[in-house]
Amino acid sequence: MRNAPAPNHNGGFYQRDRAWHPPAFTPNYKTSVLRSPKHALLSLNNTLSEMTGPVFGHAMLGELDNDLIRNYATTGDAIGPRIIVHGRVLDEDGRPVPGALLEYWQANAGGRYRHKKESYLAAIDPNFGGCGRSITDEEGRYWFRTIKPGAYPWPNGVNDWRPAHIHFSIFGHAFAQRLITQMYFEGDPMIWQCPIVMGIPDKAAVAQLVAALDREATIPMDTLAYKFDIVLRGRRSTMFENRMEGN
């Protein structure tokens, strides 16, 4: 093969390390028992059906989409500790993923979701909807402003509580990178007592979901900040391609 041009990273995606993710069946998280496939997953080399993915343009974003303190508010700011969450979306080779759509949702400062199935007695905040979205810039960066969500009880064991968390849905550049995860907060002792978190086998993998308090990104006298980087699957480069080009 010629020694040029430079390899481009448009091959198949690195195989997902299933031991790093929670397995489907995590019996301490009871709902997983009947919702976990029992057969082995069918391994499939990436085809165009997985190596392609939808594009979301910055034009679809509203001005307040990344400001949960204001984007639902009518009579004043949402109540709670004001925080900025920021970070980068990277791939497994450390390259930024620009143009990634992030959707995030969370409970209010009291731990209450705005959802008809929610039954926790904590008060609804009339000025807090609980959702927002961003698209990463050329360097893979995103940021949003919100209030720190509260912990909440949930029906699993009779006394199980979720640590404070923010849910994230991420679209990278291909459907193979599609991911939903949750962000936790540095220093929260409840992380290590949560059946959903503890479904992740490796403590280092859990740590990857814990956002760091980032004093340098705070706004003095205004808003604390947490840094949360997200890593999507990397992809093989085509240094020596042994399959038909164009397919």
């Binding site: 997985e50 993915g53 849910h167 291909a174 599609r178 038909m244």
Partner: protein
């Protein structure tokens, strides 16, 4: 000692949980002031080329109960077998076809419903044609990592037989789980019924892609 490859690890998945709608389809659950419309929820634009179809079904757990809190995403090629968005290098797809749709199942019946067009065939890695199919991704409370599957068409028997997945002998007994059932039509639009079984005798084939 050895040099470090210094790669990062993919962020581990966590369940979408019961409140996934808040972040993904807020208008669907009555959070109406934030986004003008829910992303991916609109039916396929009328201007898209191709045979219009409806894909509908339910998601079942291992006890046979219907999930009422699942969210499905659909990703497919256009009528000519070209993908919109990123990663398609064979040509430009139909500009009126988004390729990606998202639907929460109904909160009571658990039924999901996509109004789209029938995709064209897309080549496999080795150049053989794959049979026309759509990719589905399922998330819900109790699903720790999103499940990928494919739906193939019952009226494409010959193409299905030749599809590289369908020729994998070890799957013979379960391949039917990937093929929708034709379920009549609505106003002349063919309806395909595709139920997804997370577990049990009829467990759907899910992919590690």
């Amino acid at each position: 000692m050895v040099q470090s490859l210094s790669r990062l690890k993919e962020s581990p998945s966590q369940t979408a949980g019961p409140y996934v709608h808040i972040g993904t389809t807020p208008n669907f659950i009555g959070i109406n002031h934030v986004y003008a419309q829910d992303l991916g929820l609109a039916p396929c634009p009328a201007a898209a080329k191709g045979q219009r179809i409806i894909i509908t079904g339910q998601v079942f757990d291992g006890s046979g109960a219907v999930l009422r809190d699942a969210l499905l995403e659909l990703w497919q090629a256009d009528a000519d077998g070209l993908y919109p968005g990123r990663g398609e290098h064979r040509g430009a797809a139909d500009p009126n076809f988004p390729g990606w749709f998202r639907q929460p199942v109904d909160g009571v019946s658990g039924i999901y419903r996509f109004e789209t067009i029938k995709p064209g065939a897309v080549p496999f890695i080795d150049g053989r044609k794959m049979a026309p199919h759509v990719t589905l991704w399922i998330v819900a409370r109790g699903i720790n990592i999103g499940l990928h599957t494919r739906m193939y068409f019952p009226d494409e028997a010959a193409a299905n037989e030749a599809d590289p997945i369908f020729t994998r002998f070890e799957l013979r007994a379960r391949l039917a789980t990937l093929v929708a059932a034709r379920d009549g039509e609505e106003d002349g639009v063919p309806v395909y019924r595709f139920d997804i079984h997370l577990q049990g005798d009829k467990e759907t084939i899910f992919f590690d892609i």
